[in-house]
Structure formats: structure tokens, C-alpha cells
Symmetry: C2
DNA sequence: GACTGTTACTTGAACTCTCAATTTCCACCA
DNA sequence: TGGTGGAAATTGAGAGTTCAAGTAACAGTC
């Protein structure tokens, strides 16, 4: 097994802290649900809106941003993806006409990703369907306590994995 | 916004059940944590063991199976991935020498994926590091109650998304 | 004003995943 | 025995992701 001791403890090697049976069950449940859910939402959005879930998330971030624009780095951090991935993604979204790039006046290296009208449309048209999918898969099945709990747990995990947990750098954010 | 009402309700269109503020916070926390976690584990395993997290999971399933072998369909279902994806994955794992295919005697269409010695080695060598990563990212940060809660919640979500929730088909499983 | 190190972003190649066929075989039934 | 429909697995092409460079521009320093 992956998470369980399979060989007898040896005297000279440090035995790793394997997961208990119960921990394994939790972890497997997590992996399965996360896999199924990502898959489900990807398919839903690909079918209805013609883009994967991550791309949809990028449009949403832009829609929420002041002036519907964000610096590439800012967008990448906020979506928790690498800049490289974002570069490719924005290239694609640009090709679809949902995002446009603009040069940053104050820093010639910088680029803004800007949500286009067409991008806003796509969001307006497909948000209801997507919300439905999320509701059906998650919120409709959980008690209020479970929802609260899920939020707390996921926030803790996210915090532990944040590269730095700060927009404290990024000079151009004042 | 993605999950929130942005336009005033119109009289003639059914207004979708948007997510509340609190629900949005939970959902975003989930997406962020899941993204960061998948990424983290993928990187850890790619660096240390030379394969992504899903592939590692496949080896684990095989290691746990009787005779360290599983029919392709069975493995795909258990890992919650499509058969097509599995075909490609096993091809790659075969190339790395960690898995080998074997014909199924009773059904000439069938194939077994079998974990090789080399595959078991890779698992033995890298399981401790992987367990550590999972511990550090998840279990060490959660109270026992939170762990239990996470398990329950993810089981509920997974159940809701299971294509059929049964190994009840699959004749060759008795 | 020319160095040095850093930041912002992009690029291309290798790899992985998805989707829509395609191939091969089984099971049933007339 | 010879269809017919479905199941098991694979394939190939296109899309997305990663990783390791690469380019360009900023910021300070001498």
C-alpha cells in the first residue's frame, strides 16, 4: 500500500509516519471526490461554454477586477497557477476573443489581461449553468455545518501551501 | 461575478439560485486548496519519482490488488479516470518499466495491467516521501474532528458524482 | 552611463489529457 | 452459423500543461 507500512520496521532505518487506516480512508475519499469533481466541472464547461474550468475561473477573476483588467502576475497568483500556464491560457482566450492584452504604461515589461465584451457575454450566458452544476455536486448535498467545515478545512490547507501568502510584494499594488 | 447575481432580476427569466457570499467563500477556498494541493503533489512526485500524482496512484492500486494485477476497466474505475486516459497512462508506465500488460485468458478483448518488480521498487522508495508530503500538507494541519469531517464530506461529494456507484456490473468480478 | 541582479512575461518542446473514432471480441438469438 | 448489438481496449489528433530557457525592461550601484 501506498500509505501503509508493508515491510517490518527495520532497526536502522527511520520508519516513516505512515497514514493510519482512518487517515487513508479520508485521503482516498478526498482524491476520489476531487478527481470526479474537477472532471465533472471541466466537462460541463467544455460542453456548454467551450472552455475548461480553469479558463472559466480566469474570466471570472477578470470580471471581478476593477476595470475588468489584471496584470498577468496578479491574475496568475490569484488563480494559483504559474505564469507560464497563464501565458498559454491567455493566448487561447485571446484567440477566442474573450480576453485582450494591453501594455502596461508604467512598466514596459508588464501586460494587462482585459476581459472583452464578448468575454462578459460568455460569462453571463454560462454562469447560471455552472452555478447549478456546483450546487448539485456540492452545496445541495451538504448540511450548513458541513459547508462551514469544508470552508475552514480548505482554507487551512491552502494557507499551508501558499508560496508566500502575501500580496505584500508586488510593488505595483502600492 | 461567477457565482453571484450581477444583473437585476428580470421579470420573465427564471433567476438562477446564485451562491450566497458565504457559499462563494467556501467554494473559492475549495478551488484554491485543491489547485494548490494537486500541484504540490504533482511536483513532489514528478521531481522525486519521475511521474505525476495520478500515475503514482495507479501503481498503488495495482500494488494493493490481488496478484498485483487489475483489468484495465477495473483500474480505470477505481482511479476514477476514463479508459482512454488509462490506456495512454499504462503505455507510458510500461515504457518506464513499472507496469506490464498481460492478455486476459478468459476474454480475449481484456488486458491486465500488472505491476512489475521495478514498479514495486519505485513505490517502496518513494512512498515515504509522498506520505510525508501528504501529512505536511493536510493531516498535520487538521484536528481529528476536521479530518473526520473532511472524510465524510468528500465521500458525499464522490457518491453524488459516481457514474453508477456499483461494481455490480462487471461480470468478470463474479 | 555601463554593470549586476531581479522581475515580467513568453516561448518551444515534451508530456498528458480529451474526444471521437476504430478494432476486436463476446453474447445472444434466430 | 451467421447476424447484431454491446463491451474492452486502443488510437490519433488536437488541446492543455510543465519545465527549462529565453527576451526585455527595471532598479540600484559604482
Amino acid at each position: 500500500m501506498e500509505y501503509m507500512k508493508t515491510a517490518p520496521a527495520s532497526a536502522d532505518a527511520e520508519e516513516p509516519r505512515w497514514l493510519t487506516d482512518e487517515e487513508q480512508r479520508v485521503w482516498r475519499a478526498y482524491i476520489e471526490a476531487a478527481t470526479l469533481l474537477e472532471d465533472h466541472l471541466d466537462r460541463q464547461l467544455q460542453r456548454d461554454a467551450g472552455m475548461p474550468h480553469v479558463y472559466y475561473g480566469l474570466l471570472v477573476k477578470l470580471a471581478e477586477a476593477p476595470d475588468r483588467r489584471l496584470r498577468m502576475t496578479e491574475l496568475a497568483m490569484s488563480a494559483k497557477i504559474t505564469r507560464s500556464r497563464l501565458s498559454h491560457a491567455v493566448a487561447r482566450l485571446e484567440k477566442s476573443g474573450w480576453v485582450r492584452r494591453e501594455d502596461c504604461p508604467s512598466d514596459k515589461r508588464g501586460q494587462f489581461a482585459v476581459l472583452t465584451e464578448k468575454g462578459q457575454d460568455v460569462l453571463r450566458r454560462h454562469a447560471p449553468g455552472h452555478v447549478d452544476a456546483v450546487r448539485q455536486a456540492v452545496f445541495d448535498r451538504l448540511t450548513p455545518e458541513q459547508q462551514k467545515s469544508l470552508g475552514e478545512i480548505m482554507r487551512i490547507i491552502a494557507e499551508g501551501l501558499q508560496p508566500s501568502e502575501a500580496g505584500a510584494d508586488l510593488p505595483w499594488l502600492r
